[in-house]
């Protein structure tokens, strides 16, 4: 599989009050994504997941700027592209699905118009082939009787169906990468599973890569090949989903996994003590240390960088060194 996306040391900051206040929403994250792969971007609200996505597509709000690092997509560097070039990429080669299906669709335009737009503007499809394409797309997201449905308006559809339409819109330009920003959070629990199946189907049929932003680890387990856990603007651990679920090394990842409710046990729900930090006033050293059960003196003063655990598995934690040392010591003892 060829490498599709490579984010290197990306830093996106928000500037307010004339530059007096800087919020480091994304502070040096790096990850890669191959064609057809799915990566889960996990974390609590405000950790920088959405800002990362907006940085990739180039639609940051005016107060935010990419101040460092690179985003390489299919061999091209996105951070240096002009707005017009980014516009041609958006919708055509990189698509995005937003969280709220009702708000995402324009109430005054028909489903047909909204699904057809990317194909119309990016691919130049017209007339009958455009109609056929829209029907294909709607069928691919499991919307029955597409010819009837496409003449309808958003308010005539249920939430789950609308979100599937948003998925169809995302596929319309034939993208290589889809970024899904919490697409199931606003859906009924019963509909969520169906929607995820639809997404998986599309992915298998078209080979599109997926960045799945969520705070729900159950979804990550179901949908993703690898995952990156974000905290306070940094990726604190990333690796294959199986590895992390079995033996996560970073205390934050462990806490997240530990706080998942498990069927069949009567253990009390574990909640991580404390609050996510204020991004404008981060603690010194490792940002997680105030809430970490295993914090050492070193953690309070020195920010950890990536400690390698295995080939594609890194975590930003001093404990990794300690464990490696212990293993080494016990190995030679």
């Amino acid at each position: 599989m060829a490498q599709l996306l490579r984010v290197s040391d990306l830093r996106t900051h928000y500037f307010s009050f004339g530059g007096a206040r800087v919020v480091k929403a994304v502070d040096g994250i790096s990850f890669t994504l191959n064609e057809g792969e799915t990566i889960g971007l996990v974390g609590e609200s405000g950790c920088g997941k959405t800002t990362t996505c907006l940085s990739v597509v180039g639609l940051l709000p005016p107060a935010a700027r990419i101040v460092g690092g690179g985003i390489e997509f299919a061999g091209e560097e996105l951070t240096t592209k002009r707005p017009r070039e980014m516009r041609r990429i958006r919708g055509r080669r990189i698509a995005m699905i937003l969280q709220d299906p009702m708000a995402s669709l324009n109430p005054l335009f028909s489903i047909y118009t909204q699904v057809a737009e990317p194909a119309f503007y990016h691919l130049g499809t017209r007339g009958r082939s455009l109609r056929q394409r829209v029907q294909e797309l709607l069928r691919a997201v499991r919307i029955s009787s597409p010819t009837v449905r496409m003449r309808e308006y958003p308010h005539q559809m249920s939430g789950g169906m609308r979100q599937r339409v948003v998925g169809a819109i995302a596929m319309a330009g034939g993208p290589k990468l889809i970024i899904a920003d919490e697409p199931t959070t606003n859906l009924d629990v019963t509909i969520q599973a169906q929607y995820l199946d639809v997404l998986k189907e599309i992915q298998q049929a078209s080979g599109v890569a997926l960045i799945f932003v969520t705070h729900n680890l159950g979804i990550v387990a179901k949908m993703c090949d690898k995952m990156a856990v974000m905290y306070a603007g940094k990726i604190v651990e990333q690796g294959a989903v199986r590895d992390l679920f079995r033996a996560a090394k970073h205390p934050y990842t462990q806490a997240l996994l530990g706080s998942m409710p498990k069927l069949g046990t009567k253990e009390p729900l574990y909640a991580i003590p404390g609050q996510p930090p204020n991004l404008a006033q981060l603690p010194s050293g490792c940002a997680f240390h105030p809430r970490c059960a295993r914090a050492m003196t070193q953690c309070q003063t020195q920010q950890p960088d990536d400690r390698r655990i295995a080939e594609n598995w890194v975590a930003k934690c001093w404990l990794v060194d300690h464990q490696a040392k212990e293993q080494y010591v016990s190995a030679i003892a």
Partner: protein
């Protein structure tokens, strides 16, 4: 949509009833209506005759019913001065007021809507600040004073435009400007805030995410959504302008309904005044109903509901 139309029509009818009742009661309950309904300079015998003619000695509810009956059959009384039915006079002058109102509306659209749109798209920029000043002036400068100043500058001092009367576009431009000025400002404000709200919405974000050209995002998606409240206001304004441009028409001697109303006041021609007020109210309610229906047709959320 049908339920919507039925409901709005019922409301319109109720509104008309209340308006007619108000006008009826105001006249009957504030002093002796005979003095209003009789021509100025009437003698006691005339007063008695008027009393009988208008049925002023009958109980109020009966009077109101015959009042309503008269309205519905179009008998709004005769003007003292013109000795013609009020309704005839009203509809005779209506096209003139309409001409003025259309011209003023056009000016207010051309100035207000684009300025509001640009202000919203380039919010807090130089254009936006300029727009805010224009809006403020539009609300503070009384339209009729603007009219007087325009006459002073362009007719008296510069001699470029005629001072008054109806004629070709030279006569039209100053009154239309004076009349449309206020509405341009209010349209600007409304367009700007409506557009700002739309631009913040999720579906505009998604439209940008689709990589649509900026022109399409703004011109098609944002524009159509933002215009809904603006069009409603514009339609309402037009009808108001037709009926309430009293002072402008007086200043520019424009032969419209407003001027007719002024004549009625000046010459104590009460049936004329009452008739015009009634007709103005009826026309406004009727047109508002039409606008509501058009609005219902544009917005698919209403059109496709049961």
């Amino acid at each position: 949509m049908r339920q919507f139309i039925i409901r709005r029509t019922v409301y319109a009818i109720i509104t008309l009833l209340i308006l007619s009742l108000t006008i009826f009661l105001v006249v009957r309950l504030t002093g002796d209506p005979v003095t209003l309904l009789a021509e100025p300079g009437a003698r006691p015998e005339d007063l008695a005759r008027v009393r009988v003619e208008w049925g002023l000695d009958r109980p109020l509810p009966v009077q109101y019913l015959s009042f309503l009956e008269n309205i519905l059959t179009g008998k709004l009384g005769n003007s003292f001065n013109y000795e013609m039915p009020v309704s005839t006079l009203y509809f005779q002058r209506l096209p003139n007021s309409l001409e003025l109102a259309l011209a003023a509306s056009l000016i207010s659209f051309v100035i207000g809507i684009p300025a509001g749109l640009i202000s919203a798209v380039r919010v807090n920029g130089a254009w936006d600040n300029f727009g805010k000043i224009v809006a403020l002036l539009g609300l503070s400068v009384p339209g009729f004073w603007l009219g007087l100043v325009l006459i002073l500058v362009f007719s008296v001092w510069l001699g470029w435009l005629p001072t008054s009367g109806q004629g070709d576009w030279c006569n039209l431009i100053m009154p239309a400007l004076a009349l449309g000025w206020y509405f341009a400002a209010s349209l600007l404000r409304l367009t700007r805030s409506s557009m700002l709200e739309v631009l913040r919405s999720e579906y505009i974000k998604l439209a940008r995410l689709k990589g649509l050209p900026g022109v399409v995002v703004i011109g098609m998606h944002a524009f159509k959504n933002a215009l809904i409240p603006v069009i409603t206001l514009a339609g309402v304004n037009l009808v108001i302008m037709v009926n309430a441009a009293v002072i402008i028409e007086v200043i520019f001697a424009w032969p419209g309904i407003g001027r007719l109303l002024y004549e009625g006041i000046f010459q104590r021609d009460f049936p004329l005044v009452q008739g015009i007020v009634l007709l103005a109210g009826m026309m406004i309610v009727a047109i508002n109903l039409v606008i509501d229906i058009v609005y219902a047709w544009i917005d698919p959320r209403i059109r496709l509901a049961r």
